[in-house]
Symmetry: C2
């Protein structure tokens, strides 16, 4: 029985989501894993949009529960940080003690991206901690996102792939994704 990998990431929102998820699934199988993709299972209609959303949440959690690990696409989505749904899913699977790997298609790290969000208006406070113009502190740990995400993967000896994708291939370039597959194939 091949190990099952849950493929977390914001590509479910793309217009060509099916095509990308199929490509990720095929690549996953080529490394002898079984892919589990959110979006693969038909969700029954529900009386309200809200209840439909809850059904998707239930199906996605049951998929994670059946998985042996995750590859999380942490490429920033609609802003300077990872998709929050993907962050939730990564935390969920870290808590389950399963195989973890993550990738990003942007090479600027978390600190660089937050500094850019603040147009570079970063200054150290009296303790040396770097802060933005709104007074909030910036994590500067050479990590790809908030330390809980990067640390959660790295501390589990999971793999973090960092790759610079072309701007028009930010959510479709699978170089980092395949790098994670290669790594996980050595772990089993």
């Amino acid at each position: 029985m091949p190990l099952k990998l849950y493929l977390a990431g914001p590509e479910v929102f793309l217009r060509n989501a099916r095509e990308i998820l199929d490509a990720k699934a095929a690549l996953t199988r080529s490394y002898d894993f079984e892919p589990i993709c959110p979006g693969d299972i038909f969700i029954e209609p529900a009386p309200t949009r809200h209840e439909f959303g809850l059904k998707i949440s239930a199906v996605d959690e049951s998929m994670m529960n059946s998985a042996d690990g995750v590859i999380a696409n942490l490429t920033p989505f609609r802003g300077m940080a990872a998709d929050t749904g993907t962050a939730f899913e990564l935390g969920y699977i870290c808590a389950q003690g399963k195989l973890v790997a993550a990738y990003t298609n942007i090479t600027d790290n978390h600190f660089a991206r937050v500094a850019s969000y603040y147009d570079g208006q970063i200054a150290p406070d009296e303790t040396g901690r770097k802060r933005g113009p709104d007074g909030t502190a910036l994590e500067d740990f050479e990590m790809i996102d908030n330390l809980m995400l990067h640390g959660g993967v790295a501390r589990r000896a999971g793999h973090i792939a960092i790759h610079r994708a072309a701007f028009d291939a930010l959510y479709t370039d699978l170089t980092g994704f395949e790098d994670c597959l290669k790594y996980l194939a050595t772990r089993i």
Copy 2:
């Protein structure tokens, strides 16, 4: 022994983080829970910033492991979505099957905030799914953030408090936080 609640949220980044965390901790104790706050434990120095970040990740995870539940502050942070660290932590504690509650200090829901991110340039595709100008689909489930976060709490019969805080009290207004405490006090 009082139940322990992990207090997740981006207020750890505020200039007056200590003050806010102390206020949250005092309020938590007033409802007979024991607060566990990231930032409460001294983290030993490490040879590199990166290793220091990993140490914080380890300490925060051990705090979550010792907790009986979480109250997650999902108020959007540096953009239109929740702090990714908080999203990770909420997923982590949902996977552990513990008590969960969440609050937001912004009443615009996820759909409204993403629509605003796209300056209202939202149109239905051929299947009726609403998409932004970049082609990505918007979740429209009357939820406060991505469905995994809202659904993860709601499906566990956790509480979601929605409160409109003043702009200058976005991360310090504790009305929604106290609402979660009141709710959790009825669950035990």
